[in-house]
Assembly symmetry: C2
Homo-oligomer: 457 residues x 2
């Protein structure tokens, strides 16, 4: 870890809009993990039909974003497909890094100053809401600095992540004993955030590095965090307290699943003839239990953060990505609908806080691909070689959803496609129609009146 | 064919912009066939690098478009993946139809009034430029009315298209002898367009229906078209003449191909181990010959069309789609670059004709998918089950381009993803960020001051 000198300054920004603002210049940044145009279209066709409009579709601005990553060993070399760690780091800190890195630079491992740190230093309040573990790559990139996304807890720090040999670099350079900041959970515990809501109790029950009796959660409490674990406690947050809410062991259960657990599968053939599967619809996931929705967490966070000095809130719908990895179209659709709930809450907030900017974007594209529900070449017995689902939509038609980036039974992979960005609120109409991912950082600090930091290589 | 009563009115539109307009309210509609966000990203990474910007990226507006199609037998039922015929018909006439249909309604086979017909009736000039045959689905949907896209020439009218049994409906209902308008080429020949430039001599050399000595081309000349066949003749078009320029037998040769003809292929495995192919770059297609570029045709068309009353010009870069069907990433990239040339010419025209609106969009999404050049699961010997290419970019990195919508050796298929729309010029900044495909028709006629026709079901 290298300490970086930085300049932070809070400036007042022009407020030439309505005088109804209860809160200072603020930013609500909503990230749909893996939410590319395929995901949005699939969700629209299911949720409101092909003639319908999503909440996103009525926002003031839409542009597209070039996803950015670089090679770990040769940071001058572009890598066209990002992961959540590199992408969220580009957004949070405005610096392009290599896949797997959290708030650190490729090769040189310098810590990257984030919009959250700049905002905290300038007296703005900060919060994060996610349906993943709060230690997962996207939220982590707004909180922590570590060379490897899988070092989520103290015990992760000392074991190789055997599922991912290409990403198996250990995190020993980030041991506190080696002058580092520790695991992601430890950095969450020692952070200055005002509110952090998501999953991840599993990562906070470890003893902290070098201790046999103090857990990460103990440390968070010692650092002033109130901890909550039940959905109903979201309504009872004390205004002046700093809050860490953890509502599931890791990723929260998703809203929808395929009927009877159906998901995309390899097509069967009998005597060379393709057997097209029966279409299935989506149903409520029976595992969803009593965890709060993304919309409920967003409401609680906004109630907690609104103040005269302004705030930054990052909200992630995490499992659009995860369900696409696992080839579960209904899972994806439900998590886009969770994101839409959060957008709805954010736009409602905007109604009476006109100095707020709401940005909605993704971190990278994904595998799910909307194709014909029966191939145009079916008469020749040709079909997709990938995992395929036929999803029955409420309007009475059928979508073909294909996953064919990888033949592994484990999962499908990301795409490097340019991704959407939507905006409403202060300055939204003036955004350029095409930006690179790091420019989201520039837009964020410019809107908040924060000075650009001097970042290390 | 059913004749439709329609209302046409030319109205003056507000011209609250610069006073430099040489031409009346005009529309330049540029369609990248199959040009979704994947295609644009792949082309950007290759043509200008991941830090670069395309001409598109600096336009004034970008939105997204819900692709529309319906079932032929049950036109109330949405079909989520369009073809060029249904999509271009939605754009040209504002009516959603079934796949394969050209300017006619699903099931009921009514002719759909197009923006071109409305413009012609109102005294505006009209033109079409394409790198496909002028009889291909996209341009045809702006010129003709026929139940089946494959009925391009008189001889097509009487044979089943054996490659496409699902689309094998014959066109006998459109025989002139049966009261129809004849094949697409015959309808081109009898049309009122001022300029038509593209490929397709093959379709104009047939004898017209019921004749043993008059070709379709003879009929076009009898209808007042000057015919040109050489690129250099584009500079010598007489201002008052109506022009049909045909520069190749069918689709024009594309700009780029993979080095030594390389394209995406199934991955080889040796003893279960994936053999990742060597990356290849793009090279000029040796078959390109002396056909005019899309930019040159666009320049010629704009010179010919500019006038006080205004005009409508539809420009298509056709082989983004065709090269993606054939899994040829370099072919796609070259045809996006042809489209960018046309956009550049259109934006230059806009500089001195501020009452013009330039729209750039696609008709549908496609199969090409930008993924990692080597799978993150390669260490477990997993890889895509599709056709795959590793394309070396001039900036020194490698893109993985995957085609896996279909395992046929013939081709890959379309996607139903929402597609981009870009705009510059008069009214561009006021367009909504999300529209359905038929709304492009509404925007077009509104901009041109034409009244909405009464369309049949």
């Amino acid at each position: 870890m290298i300490v970086i000198w930085l300049i932070v300054a809070a400036c007042s920004t022009d407020t030439d809009e309505h005088n109804d603002a209860r809160t200072g210049p603020s930013l609500i940044l909503i990230i749909g993990d893996g939410m590319d145009d395929q995901q949005i279209t699939i969700a629209r066709n299911y949720l409101v039909g092909s003639q319908g409009k999503l909440t996103l579709d009525s926002m003031q601005y839409r542009g597209s974003v070039q996803v950015q990553a670089v090679d770990e060993d040769d940071p001058g070399k572009a890598v066209y497909v990002a992961d959540s760690a590199s992408a969220a780091t580009a957004i949070s800190g405005g610096v392009v890094t290599s896949r797997g890195r959290i708030g650190t630079t490729a090769k040189f491992d310098s810590d990257i100053v984030t919009v959250m740190e700049l905002a905290q230093s300038a007296g703005l309040r900060t919060g994060i809401v996610t349906t993943a573990s709060i230690t997962d790559a996207t939220p982590a990139s707004f909180i922590a600095h570590v060379n490897q996304r899988f070092c989520q807890s103290p015990s992760d720090m000392v074991k190789r992540n055997e599922r991912f040999p290409p990403a198996s670099t250990d995190c020993s350079q980030d041991y506190k004993a080696n002058g580092g900041l520790g695991s992601i959970a430890e950095q969450v515990a020692s952070s200055r955030f005002d509110i952090l809501l998501g999953g991840g109790t599993d990562y906070f029950s470890d003893f902290i590095e070098g201790s046999a009796d103090t857990t990460v959660l103990d440390n968070a409490r010692a650092n002033g965090f109130s901890t909550i674990f039940q959905s109903e406690h979201l309504r009872m947050i004390e205004p002046k307290k700093r809050v860490l809410g953890l509502f599931s062991p890791s990723t929260m259960p998703v809203r929808y699943r395929g009927e009877n657990g159906s998901q995309a599968r390899l097509l069967e053939r009998v005597n060379g003839k393709v057997i097209w599967p029966e279409p299935y619809g989506c149903e409520k996931n029976p595992e969803v239990g009593s965890v709060p929705t993304l919309g409920e967490m967003t409401e609680a966070a906004l109630r907690h953060l609104a103040n005269d000095n302004g705030f930054v809130l990052m909200i992630e719908s995490a499992s659009i990505d995860k369900q696409s990895h696992y080839r579960r179209p209904c899972g994806q659709i439900g998590e886009v609908s969770q994101l839409l709930d959060a957008v709805h809450v954010a736009l409602d907030f905007l109604d009476s806080n006109s100095d707020t900017l709401v940005l909605v974007t993704a971190d990278h594209g994904h595998a799910a691909h909307l194709i014909s529900d029966i191939s145009g070449l079916a008469f020749l017995n040709y079909a997709t070689p990938g995992r395929f689902a036929r999803v029955q939509t409420p309007e009475g038609s059928v979508m073909g959803i294909n996953y064919a980036s990888n033949d592994s039974p484990l999962w499908d992979e990301h795409s490097g496609v340019q991704i959407p960005i939507y905006a409403s609120g202060s300055g939204a109409s003036n955004l350029p129609i095409f930006i690179r991912q790091t420019e989201i950082f520039d837009i964020s600090i410019s809107h908040l009146g924060l000075s650009h930091p001097v970042q290390a290589d």
